[in-house]
Amino acid sequence: MAPVQPVLDTSPKVSDEIRKTTCYMCACRCGINVHMKDGKVAYIEGNRDHPVNRGVLCAKGSAGIMQVNAPSRLRMPLKRVGPRGSGEFEEITWDEALDLAASWLEPVRRDNPEKLAFFTGRDQSQSFTSFWAQGFGTPNYAAHGGFCSVNMAAAGIYTMGGAFWEFGQPDWERTKLFMLFGVAEDHDSNPIKMGLGRLKERGAKVIGVNPIRTGYNAVADEWVGITPGTDGLFILSLVHCLLKAGKIDLHYLAQYTNAPALIDPDTGLLVRDNDGKILVADRAQDGKLTPFDQRGVQPDLSRPDSVMAKIAERYLSDDYAPEAVADRTGIPADRIRKIAAELARTAFDEAIELDQPWTDFRGERHKKMTGRPVSFHSMRGISAHANGFQTCRALHVLQILLGSVEVPGGFRFKPPYPKPPEAHPKPHCKVTPDSPLDGPHLGFVHGPEDLALKPDGTPARIDKAFTWENPMSAHGLMHMVISNAHAGDPYKIDTLFLYMANMSWNSSMNTGGVMEMLTDTDDNGDYVIPHIIYSDAYSSEMVAYADLILPDTTYLERHDCISLLDRPICEAEAAADAIRWPVIEPDRDVRGFQTVLVQLANKLKLPNFTNEDGSAKYTDYADYIVNHQRKPGIGPLAGFRGENGDQSGRGDVNQQQIQKYIDNGGFWVNHIPEEAQFYKPWNTAYQDWAVGMGIYDSPQPYLFNLYVEPMRKFQRAAEGHGDRQPPDHLRAQIIEKLDPLPIWWDPADDNKGDDYPVTALTQRPMAMYHSWGTQNAWLRQIHGMNPLYVPTKIWEENGFAEGDWARVMSPHGEITVPVAHMAALNENTVWTWNAIGKRKGAWALDEKAPEATKGFLLNHLIHELLPAKGDGLRWANSDPVTGQAAWFDLKVRIEKSWAPVEAQPAFPSLSSPVPKGTKTIFDGD
């Protein structure tokens, strides 16, 4: 047949209209173009102008249409009618729902606001939700950082005034060697992929350090298949090699860090002048003790009482020699040396210089900007261990010794970072009935005086954040709320109010135990946790465990602000923030959760939401976004301020602000001047720009903390100094674990590593975000199953074959699950994809969905407490510094099993509050 080409229309109309907003398919917050046809969402692509993703978009982002159409979307407020955990509800009106919520919350607020525990999960509006909780007066507020990556954030901020992810990024355009440690692949989804692509294009080298070689580690030029939990030891061995060879940046250490600070031999505290300024020995003045910030000071690093000397003494020890750590880390000594040598060569022999003069905070003018082109990134993989805080600290110390933070080619902060730890709020916990809390809930403690303790020394917060068990718990401990509330320890609560956190399933340790706690009754037959309110957009497992459901909208149906007051979307070169706006209206009777909080606040007449005449300040969240001022001229959105919308950072309220954002593509960007692009913590031009932008009220230059003095203050208390004293059983732990210089210890010992020699991990697939992806018809066709991946050694030892199942046992529990072989894996590690396993009846899935029959959670193997040690005490399965949940310390044993009908443990089906999905999807509807 001769070719007869049909005539094609190669210029069809693409859509009726593009509406630009911000993605919420994960926490990355990319700009999206939502193409509309006939008033419906037709197609979603990345926004080319957006600073985060510059046009690209991941699988999740492009699949947003299936989230907006998902059958799992809740449709009406729900009131529980069956027993808790059954999933049996009746639909009620919003008036009824708000009345019911207020009927529980009003007496709590009047009599004892601490009896409300309000925790908001993967919330992107924490500056707002915390403001609400502050107005309510409860000390019990936090989001999900405690079970996610608080170690990464807190170690970064205490050490260098900023951390990875939304706080900073590698200098992708200049770095020559990039090391990536254990990363959850949604952190920071598209920017990391874009950055890796750019490094590949430029021929820069990528080293991936991860027990599992998937994703980013699969494309890394060099893979280090480290033994889980030993990253800190590996890093400190690199530090050992670099120190020994003198491959450290002495100018940088002397000028910009507390390496030259002097340690008082009696107290271990840093020597300061009467104004509290750190003193250094000035080589320009014959060693005279001089405040660190004086012009012309040449701080001496070589005094035996300096922080630098203490660092040398500790890490030059043979304990950190490559030979000494090779077995434990699983990395041959030669390999450690080679990586250290490559770091040294790249940082020093391949240093770069930018012809960009700048002035430092001491008033010195520099002709050039020197750069050390090595950079690092890390996330949950190293932080979700009991030794995670110290491991993250070790990584930052390595970066700083190389002089590679805030320099060309290194790691760069994103506004509002850098920010000295002292510039953050401290935690507040003073409860007064019928009144607001005395200040922000979360913050950074600088000594025992800042702990959240009641006058009798007991924990002020239900999650025991900021207590002696975990003094520096900057993000709170959401994962401890349910077990503490159930135990009435430190006290009983009345209402548990949760948002967007699947606590009866994949977001809790000891999932089965948590379900029992949520449904447990007292002697009177009343629930031990009397009231549970939950807000979610979807029919998640947690819905069944609440008494009242406040159905949220999807992300395309709501207002939001991605605020500089919160977790912004800035880039190293620019400040930026963004909005979401309703590009479609809900077709169900649902409301944006933040608007519901405004409505509840108005009903409860919370003082910070109420004018003096008793009228409401805000009608809904959009009204709050525009009209709220945290300080005069500073509001949730920094762009288009002032009457004419022409002011940035500071400025009066602009009633047209949201429209201005919409007209600008949903975001706002303000570029940092060239002279202010690097050396930001010490760069006068940056500091002045930041003050103008409202990020600081005055310039805040500071030194990086190789030695974290607040940790020493907790140690001193544990040694018996001061009025605020820890309980005796915690003294040894505090002295050992709150070392002001990074340490490493093996968490396997506390997890019965001798009997359970294999580490079990989870990873989040790039195409899924926690439990959300499975309801998405397109994404679940990519990841509908999660076998346990088993390395060759364990595979062969057990005689596994394809299709086999295994019993996996931990000190806490047992699961029976399908296995699959994977060779590119640390030989003592097994792993699976996170949160693919689903409970029957949830997420509008069929009960025979593979997620519900073969899918599983490792959570059943993990307890919030460590196995008993025989000392009569039970210790938390968390980092003793921050309280971060130590998910990745899980140790297991594995053996072949008969194939069960479905993965074990299996739970009864939940009644679904929404109808099941359709049998065929034709065109995205």
Binding site: V14, G215, A284, R337, I921
Partner: protein, 258 residues
């Protein structure tokens, strides 16, 4: 049976960089989204919330583990869609002329109004790059976004296939592989781009760029070369402080008033 054109004016196609592809599936879903709304019948999904969800995709990613005889196992991500072959067996096998290769750009398309859904083309394709849409009963395949690349309703920079526009790592490149001076041809030349299964004689237009060699193992010589970088300044901590003292003196601008 359907004839192929003797030659095409251009050979438009994709160059996919296996050294950079992280296997994120962004291209898979972007493709699904665009092509559900555009050329031909939508890409349907059967049992989307059930036990065995199956939908039509024009582009899928396969992951392969490679365990070399010596050295560490590796994982390669391999995106696969129609390769727009010059000698496309899916075209010549088509009984109705529905499958054809365009003379102007070499894109292989299915004219859905002539497609009888017999499936011969999918059987003939050695790459498994065609999928029958179960709802519509027509054969679906990559169109190279023929409705994007010339589309005057799109900004010029967006006139690339949807998968290329969305790829976060920049692992997908689009251009004329018949023009040796094009950026894609030069990439293929520089990086040793290769044909998938050349022994099939299909002359695919799409090319793959191979993963660069990994550096997981360090040849002995490398350690020796790097060793001077780590030559110790001193064996003792106290000696280290002495070295520091001297090194600080040697810093540019250091002055000591003694």
């Amino acid at each position: 049976m359907t004839q192929l054109p003797a030659s095409t004016a251009r050979k438009m196609g994709l160059v996919i960089d296996l050294d950079t592809c992280v296997g994120c599936h962004a291209c898979v879903i972007s493709c699904k989204g665009w092509n559900t709304e555009n050329y031909g019948a939508p890409l349907s999904d059967q049992d989307p919330y059930g036990a065995d969800p199956k939908g039509t995709f024009l582009n899928r990613i396969h992951s392969y583990e490679i365990t070399p005889d010596e050295g560490t196992a590796q994982l390669a991500h391999f995106p696969k869609s129609c390769l727009h072959c010059e000698d496309a067996p899916c075209v010549t096998v088509c009984p109705t002329g529905a499958s054809y290769k365009r003379v102007e750009d070499g894109i292989v398309l299915v004219n859905e109004s002539s497609c009888i859904g017999c499936g011969l083309c999918a059987w003939a394709c050695p790459y498994g790059a065609r999928e029958m849409d179960a709802a519509e009963g027509v054969m679906k395949k990559c169109t190279l976004c023929v409705d994007r690349i010339y589309n005057e309703n799109l900004p010029e920079e967006d006139r690339v296939p949807s998968c290329v526009r969305t790829c976060p790592a920049g692992a997908r490149h689009f251009g004329d592989l018949g023009d040796e001076n094009s950026e894609v041809s030069q990439l293929v030349a520089e990086r040793g781009g290769f044909d998938l299964m050349p022994e099939q004689g299909t002359k695919p237009v799409n090319k793959y760029l191979p993963p660069r060699p990994k550096q997981d193992h360090t040849p002995k010589g490398d350690i020796d070369l790097l060793a001077p970088l780590l030559a110790p300044v001193s064996e003792e901590p106290k000696g280290f402080l002495g070295w520091l003292d001297k090194a600080l003196d040697a810093l540019p601008g250091a002055e000591k008033n003694n």
